[in-house]
Every structure is written in structure tokens, then in C-alpha cells.
């Protein structure tokens, strides 16, 4: 129904465009000068068609459900039902009217489902009438207004500019959305669990909170020693550290080789091949780590008499390191190639070998950029989810032994939120609190890294 209406409005838009242009041609044929190209007259009318439609549609979408609900529930509001019960009954009758209801059908639900359907159809038809009459009125008004000396290009371009500007707000809206979705749950979480316990507690057993009845859930003493995030933060940084131990030497050296030594031919093939590593989905790395690397390390460890967990931090961190190699190699490659040739020439003129030039001249000059690329790599390692979920353990051990299993922020979020969640449960809120800390940590890393790289670029450009 909405789709048909929408198509109809689009058709109306095209028609008004056609009429606007036609009017412009008529004006032109009377030898009067137009102030804009004829199509602008058309666009002008089409915009006058789109704006009222858009406004009415969005108002409808916002208010229709609330008003329908109020109308239905107003009949029952003074019969002694609790608000929650009424809400539930309303949801049930909605489901019934869609034919998706499976429970017991009471007369109350049936009656309100019928009422719901009739109200909806009234709402639909009034929407059609209102939208169409609003469009016709506004287009007719605009049509009357355009004459030879009316301005049409400026308003059309202003409108387009406004649309472009709105689109550019999407990035800000997304950031606001992220903060918004995290902050309320996080605040609720810290109402139950003191911030101090979260940041400095050393025991993390969210499963303990889960078995509790929701009616008891507000007693904070029950959660003491349940949501201590130290093991998780430690595990996160530990695995990221292992990953960087793999990624920095390999990534940096291959970046240097590609930038300074490799012939154009080698560069042409090696660079995209290494970048394939960045394009492989992380879940695939996770499978690889869990299926191949984990068991391999376990066997290797057993043969050397070491006890290695099948889900060791080493397996997850190592594979994560492989994933990060291309980020570091291509960023440091870029950074090194943008070091001015004059620095190299100066060094060679003093008799330095190539490696000495790289180590003593180019590397220090490129250091800020390289540090920036490493920081971006660290941020990626901290935020990486699937490898850890699949290859490292899910129990939060506080350990610095790379052969044991540890857990990370991201893995805990997934463990808590997989399956059904109940909002308002401290366990779910804990996941959002973890998400908030993850967001803040990576935000700081990103801002510092991006600033460092930008400063560096400005220096040599």
C-alpha cells in the first residue's frame, strides 16, 4: 500500500517537473526572458511536490503508532489493568492482526485486534487523502507563482545544497548514535556496579549474574566480584601485544623493502599480494587459527614438553598479527616513499650505504608516520573480534602466559550478547560498558594516530 502511494508520489513529481518546464516554454514563447533554464522550473515544482510528501510521511511514521495505541487502550485504561499488562495485550493484538499470533486468543485481544485493523485502515486512507491533497495544493500554489521573472534556479540549488549538507551530517549522526546507544546502558550498569569494582576488580564471571532472578537483580552485593574487568583488559592488551610482536617486524621490514629495495616489477606483484591479507574476512582468520594454528601449537608444545592450551593467546595473537601485517607494511611504505629524495641523496653523498641511509636518515625522518601506522594497527588489534572469539578462550583468566587461554573485551561482548538479551539485566549492561571502554580506547588511539600521520604529511608536502 505504502509502496503504491510512494510510486504514485514519484509519478506526481515527474508530472510536476513536466508541467513546470512546459510553463517555462510557454513563457519563453511569449518572447519574455527566462531567469533560469526551463528545467529549473520543472525541478522547482518537483521539489514543491516532494517536501510536503516527505514532511507528512515522517510525521505519520512518528505519530501513527502512538495515536493508534492510545485510541485502542483508552477503552481499557480504567478497568484496573497495569500499564505493562496493557502493553503486552496491545502487542498481542497487533501480532494477531498480522496473523503471527500463536498464544491463546482472548475476546479482549480479538476485539482490540479488530479495532487495530480498522484504525489502521482509517489511518491509511486518511494518510493517502492528506498527502495527495497537500501535494496538489502546494504544487498548484507553486505553479501559479512561477512567472517569467520569478527565481527558480536559486531555490532549487539552495534545496540541493541543503540535501548535500544533511547527508554530510550522517557521519556525526553515526558517532552520536554510537555514544547514545552505549552511554545509557553503561550508566545503568555503573549504578549497580561501582566504577571502582569494574576498573580494578580481578574476577570476571558474568555468567554468575545471569542465573539470578530478575527480581533480585537490583541487590548490588550479589555482583561484587563478578564484574571486575582487569583480566579482560589485561587479556586484550596482551593479545594485541602478541599480535604487534608478529606484525611490526614483518610489516615494517616488508614496507622498507618495498619502498627502498624492490624493483618496480617485484613491487607491482608483491604489494597487492600482501594486501590480499587485509582483504580476507576476519572470521576466516578465526577459523584458520582455531583449526590449524591452535592444534599445531599444542602439538609443538607437547613435543617440547610444554603444556599448551588448544585455545592459546599465542594462536589468536599470532594470527591477528598476520592480519595486521598489510596495514603496517602499506602505511609505512607510503610514509617512507614520501620522504624527500634530497635526504637520501645527501646521505649517499656522504658515503653511507643504503641500509645506513635507511636506518639513520629515512627511518628517523619517517618515524612519526610509522608510529601513526603502528598505532592504527594496535587499534585494529584491540577491536578485532572474530579471531579471538573463535581461537582464544572465553573464560577470563588473568595470566601473562601466552600458552594459556585468555579473553578480550570484544570476545566477552560477543559471549554476553549472542542469543537473546534482556535489556536492564546487568550482564547485558556489562557488555555495553565494555563496548564503551573499547570505543574510548580506540577513539584515543585513532585520534592520536591520525593527528600524527597528518602532521607528518604536512611536513613533507
Amino acid at each position: 500500500m505504502n509502496l503504491i502511494l510512494f510510486t504514485f508520489i514519484v509519478l506526481l513529481g515527474f508530472t510536476s517537473y513536466y508541467f513546470g518546464r512546459k510553463k517555462a516554454y510557454t513563457i519563453q514563447s511569449t518572447k519574455k526572458r527566462l531567469t533560469a533554464l526551463p528545467q529549473f522550473y520543472g525541478y522547482y515544482l518537483a521539489i514543491w511536490c516532494a517536501i510536503p510528501a516527505f514532511i507528512i510521511f515522517s510525521l505519520w511514521a512518528i505519530f501513527e503508532p502512538t495515536i493508534v495505541k492510545l485510541l485502542i487502550l483508552s477503552d481499557y485504561s480504567n478497568q484496573g489493568y497495569l500499564d505493562d499488562e496493557l502493553n503486552l495485550l496491545y502487542e498481542k493484538s497487533k501480532a494477531l492482526s498480522r496473523g503471527q499470533f500463536t498464544g491463546e486468543i482472548t475476546p479482549f485481544i480479538e476485539a482490540s485486534a479488530e479495532k487495530y485493523l480498522s484504525l489502521r485502515s482509517v489511518a491509511q486512507s486518511s494518510k493517502v487523502v492528506i498527502v495527495l491533497s497537500a501535494i496538489i495544493a502546494s504544487v498548484a500554489y507553486a505553479y501559479k507563482r512561477i512567472s517569467s521573472n520569478s527565481r527558480t534556479r536559486e531555490p532549487v540549488e539552495k534545496f540541493l545544497n541543503a540535501v548535500l549538507f544533511t547527508a554530510s551530517l550522517a557521519a556525526i549522526l553515526t558517532t552520536v548514535g554510537i555514544v547514545f546507544s552505549l552511554i545509557f546502558q553503561t550508566i545503568d550498569f555503573f549504578k549497580v556496579i561501582p566504577l571502582f569494582d569494574f576498573v580494578f576488580g580481578t574476577h570476571w564471571y558474568p555468567a554468575k549474574a545471569f542465573v539470578r532472578d530478575s527480581s533480585e537483580a537490583l541487590d548490588p552485593t550479589m555482583y561484587s566480584d563478578t564484574f571486575g574487568a582487569v583480566p579482560i583488559f589485561a587479556g586484550t592488551f596482551f593479545i594485541a601485544f602478541i599480535a604487534m610482536c608478529v606484525a611490526i617486524p614483518i610489516g615494517l621490514m616488508s614496507g622498507i623493502y618495498l619502498a627502498e629495495y624492490a624493483s618496480t616489477k617485484v613491487r607491482q606483484y608483491a604489494k597487492p599480494l600482501i594486501e590480499i591479507l587485509a582483504g580476507i574476512p576476519t572470521v576466516v582468520y578465526g577459523f584458520f587459527a582455531a583449526l590449524t594454528v591452535g592444534p599445531f601449537l599444542k602439538e609443538l608444545g607437547t613435543s617440547m614438553g610444554l603444556e599448551v592450551s588448544a585455545e592459546s593467546a599465542l594462536a589468536a595473537g599470532g594470527v591477528m598479527g598476520i592480519m595486521i601485517i598489510p596495514f603496517i607494511s602499506s602505511l609505512s611504505d607510503d610514509v617512507i616513499t614520501s620522504v624527500p629524495q634530497s635526504l637520501r641523496d645527501g646521505s649517499y653523498a656522504m658515503g653511507a650505504t643504503k641500509s645506513e641511509t635507511i636506518k639513520r636518515v629515512i627511518f628517523p625522518a619517517a618515524l612519526p608516520g610509522i608510529v601513526g601506522s603502528i598505532l592504527l594497527g594496535v587499534s585494529r588489534a584491540i577491536g578485532e573480534t572474530m579471531i579471538v572469539v573463535m581461537a582464544s578462550g572465553l573464560a577470563a583468566n588473568l595470566t601473562l602466559n601466552p600458552l594459556e587461554s585468555t579473553s578480550t573485551i570484544t570476545a566477552q561482548i560477543v559471549v554476553i550478547l549472542i542469543g537473546d538479551q534482556a535489556f536492564g539485566d546487568p550482564k547485558t549492561q556489562a557488555a555495553f560498558a565494555l563496548g564503551m571502554s573499547l570505543f574510548l580506547v580506540t577513539l584515543c588511539l585513532n585520534i592520536v594516530a591520525l593527528r600524527v600521520v597528518k602532521k607528518y604529511r604536512e611536513k613533507y608536502e
Binding site: 547527508a167 621490514m253 623493502y257 600482501i274 574476512p281 576466516v284 645506513e356 577491536g383 585513532n446
Partner: protein
């Protein structure tokens, strides 16, 4: 003195060579990882494209099927196939006792009754006759036939009994076991049984999510890029937008999952587990990637084009829409495809918005619950059954195939249509 100098020089040259070798070996290591990786996936995954069938003679006994004389199509639909299916499996070993008959039944998939039914529906004249029917082997026997199953384990640690192996070996010896291309892997939805599980539902889920993502992210990102590159005044606010975009491009994907869960599901009450929500979440993630690519390609259009258009009397909006934007489209499009390829491989945010639910139907619209290819990989990788290991690898091969095609496509657009300004 001179000798000393020569030694020093030699040392420096050696150091030079060593350094060069480090660099070379770093590249070699990175490529080695890539090779091992691809080899491992292919060597475990290729066998999933084959499926093992047992060829079992089935007698279509009208009495056992409770069929009257001259049954109609509907009668055939409603007939009882379980008994003849069971009997034909039990007949594989005439001396079998009751336990063994049960084991014989478990040599084929749960689907065997339906396979026999389809055989009869295709050819109703079979009633009263015996025909050899292809039945899907159970996933354990499938693995045995492909040589992936350790037969030398003690019996109590295997899911295949010695008795089943004995009968199976007899069937193999008689040529009654066949391996054919696994069509059902591409046409079936997910299943708890490895031998029946396919990627159709997760594939459709991925397609729908990517389409939703494209429809939201592409227009918004291109419009935003046009504004920021061509119209935005240089002030604090646009700087702020810019910082936001660059930062969003580096925010961990799981945070977007929390956004989808906390805003799209909890506040807007959109349906859980659907590609619609998945696509919206992915579009927020892809947005910065496309904006950055689109801005770069707008920047690459030389100012002379704009100046020429302005000199001819075009307004700024006309200059942008008629000249700059069309010229920048190839770069924007290839950036978009690369962004979509990233979104296609994304798993964590989709898990959080519930696309990890077990879905055994093929979704017909973005509003139906579905999984996606990477999530399917995760689901299968977490399941303990041996038969799923090769399925995971095969699913990875399909996913990687798609990513390669998308990236090639992006390359082609870039090289073929992008204008080189010099």
C-alpha cells in the same frame, strides 16, 4: 691503517646485505602465510563440493505404503514412506537384529524417507517394483568415503560403529557407493545435519544485507562527499565532520553491532535477525569508506574542468553535477565496491543483531530472518561435527570467490573508466 679501513668497509657491506635479506625474508614470510592459508582452506574444503550417495534397492510395496489400487497424486503425497524406507535399509543385511537395523537406518540422512518419496512421485509406475535409489549418506560415512575420518580410532570414540563400517565397505566393494557433485550445498538452507546443510539461506541473507547497505550507504556517502569537497566552507564545523569520518573508519566493527542492537533493535523496534537491520548496520560502517574514496576521486578532478564550466556561465551546482561528479564516478564506484566487499566479510556486528540464529528456510525478502555467509562460517566452525569442517572451508571458498570477483570488478572499473589527468 688501510687494512683496518677495508675491514670496516667489508663489515658495512655485510650489514647492508643482511638488512636487505631481512626485508626480503619479511616479504617472503608474509607471502608464505598467504600461501599456507589458501592451501589449507582449499585442501580441507574442496571435498565438500562432492557428496556421497548410497545406492539402495527400494521395493515400493503398495501395502506397506498403505496405498489403494490406482492411487491419485494426492494419495502418493500422503502415503506412508517410512516403513518401506526402513525396510530397504534393513534389507541391506538380512541377518541384522533390531539394534543393527537401527544402525543401518543411521547410515543415511534423516532425509531418506523424502528422497524415496520423490523417486516415486517422479515415476508413479514404480509401485510394486524394486528400484535402486540414491540416498544421501550420513555425514560420518561421507567423511569415511572421502578419507577424512580416522578409522583406526577405538570404536567407542567414533560415531560410526564397526558394524556400519562393515556394511559400508561391502557396499563400496559392490560399487553401490557413489560420489557426485554436491548440488544441495548450494540449494539447501542450513541444517543441523552436516550432510544436508547448505549455504542458500546465508547466501541470500548476504545478498539482501549488501543490497540494503548499498542502497543506504552509496547515496548518502556520495552526497556527503560532494558537499565536503565542493561546497563546504572551511570552518570548525566541517573540520569536526572530517575528524568524525576519519575516526569512524577506524572504529571497531563490533561497536557498530552495539549501535545496531541499542538503537535499531531496542529503540526503533526493527525485526531482529533480519538482513534489513544487518544492512543498515553495515551501511553505517561502510559510509566512511565510501566518503573517503569519493572525496579522493573528486579531488583528483583537475580544477581546470571546474574553471572551464564556471567560465561558460554554469552555476557551481551545475558545474559539480554536470562535470565534476560524472568525472569522479569511476573512482567512487570502485571505492564503493571495495567498501561493500569489506561489509560482505563482516561478522561481529551481525552476530550482535541476532543474525546468528539457526535459519532453515531461505529468506525471500530483507524482512525475513537470515544468516549471512561469514556468520554461517562462524556457526559451522563452532559446531562439533566433523562433517562441518569441510563445509566451513567450502563456504570460505565461496565467500573468498565473491570477494575476489568484487575486487577485480573494482580494479576493472578503475583502470578502464577512470580518466588519467596529466
Amino acid at each position: 691503517m688501510n687494512k683496518n679501513k677495508e675491514q670496516l668497509l667489508n663489515k658495512r657491506y655485510k650489514a647492508e646485505q643482511r638488512f636487505r635479506l631481512y626485508g626480503l625474508s619479511a616479504i617472503f614470510m608474509a607471502l608464505l602465510f598467504l600461501t599456507i592459508f589458501i592451501f589449507k582452506i582449499f585442501s580441507t574444503g574442496y571435498s565438500a563440493f562432492q557428496k556421497t550417495w548410497l545406492i539402495v534397492p527400494v521395493t515400493f510395496d503398495a501395502e506397506l505404503m498403505m496405498l489403494d489400487q490406482n492411487p491419485s497424486k494426492q494419495d502418493l503425497q500422503d502415503a506412508d514412506y517410512y516403513d518401506i524406507a526402513l525396510k530397504s535399509m534393513a534389507d541391506l543385511d538380512p541377518n541384522a537384529n533390531e539394534d543393527q537395523e537401527n544402525e543401518l537406518k543411521r547410515m543415511v540422512s534423516y532425509f531418506f524417507e523424502k528422497e524415496i518419496k520423490n523417486e516415486l512421485l517422479n515415476d508413479p509406475n514404480l509401485i510394486g517394483k524394486t528400484k535402486e535409489v540414491y540416498l544421501t549418506a550420513s555425514d560420518d560415512l561421507d567423511q569415511v568415503f572421502k578419507g577424512n575420518y580416522p578409522r583406526d580410532l577405538p570404536e567407542d570414540q567414533r560415531r560410526v560403529s564397526d558394524y556400519q563400517l562393515k556394511i559400508f565397505d561391502q557396499l563400496v566393494a559392490n560399487g553401490k557407493v557413489e560420489s557426485k557433485f554436491n548440488i544441495s550445498f548450494f540449494t539447501n538452507a542450513d541444517s543441523r545435519e552436516a550432510e544436508l546443510a547448505g549455504i542458500a539461506s546465508s547466501f541470500m541473507g548476504s545478498i539482501f544485507s549488501i543490497l540494503v547497505c548499498l542502497m543506504i550507504a552509496f547515496p548518502v556517502a556520495v552526497l556527503a562527499a560532494i558537499y565536503l569537497e565542493e561546497f563546504a566552507p572551511k570552518n570548525r564545523f566541517t573540520d569536526f565532520i572530517e575528524v568524525n569520518i576519519n575516526n569512524l573508519a577506524a572504529v571497531p566493527s563490533i561497536v557498530f553491532g552495539l549501535l545496531g542492537l541499542g538503537v535499531l533493535l531496542a529503540i526503533f523496534q526493527l525485526p531482529r535477525s533480519t538482513p534489513l537491520v544487518g544492512g543498515i548496520t553495515l551501511s553505517l560502517m561502510t559510509l566512511p569508506t565510501i566518503i573517503i574514496a569519493a572525496r579522493a576521486s573528486l579531488k583528483a578532478v583537475p580544477p581546470s574542468i571546474r574553471e572551464a564550466a564556471l567560465a561558460m556561465g554554469a552555476s557551481r551546482m551545475q558545474t559539480t553535477m554536470h562535470h565534476t561528479v560524472p568525472l569522479s564516478m569511476p573512482g567512487t564506484l570502485s571505492g564503493t565496491i571495495i567498501g561493500l566487499a569489506q561489509a560482505l566479510g563482516e561478522t561481529a556486528p551481525l552476530i550482535l543483531i541476532g543474525m546468528v540464529a539457526f535459519v532453515n528456510t531461505i529468506p525471500g525478502s530483507p524482512m525475513d530472518p537470515a544468516a549471512s555467509l561469514p556468520v554461517q562460517i562462524y556457526i559451522w566452525a563452532e559446531s562439533a561435527e566433523r562433517g562441518f569442517v569441510e563445509k566451513v572451508s567450502a563456504c570460505i571458498m565461496v565467500l573468498l570467490g565473491f570477494l575476489i570477483i568484487m575486487n577485480l570488478f573494482a580494479q576493472i572499473i578503475r583502470h578502464k573508466f577512470e580518466k588519467k589527468w596529466s
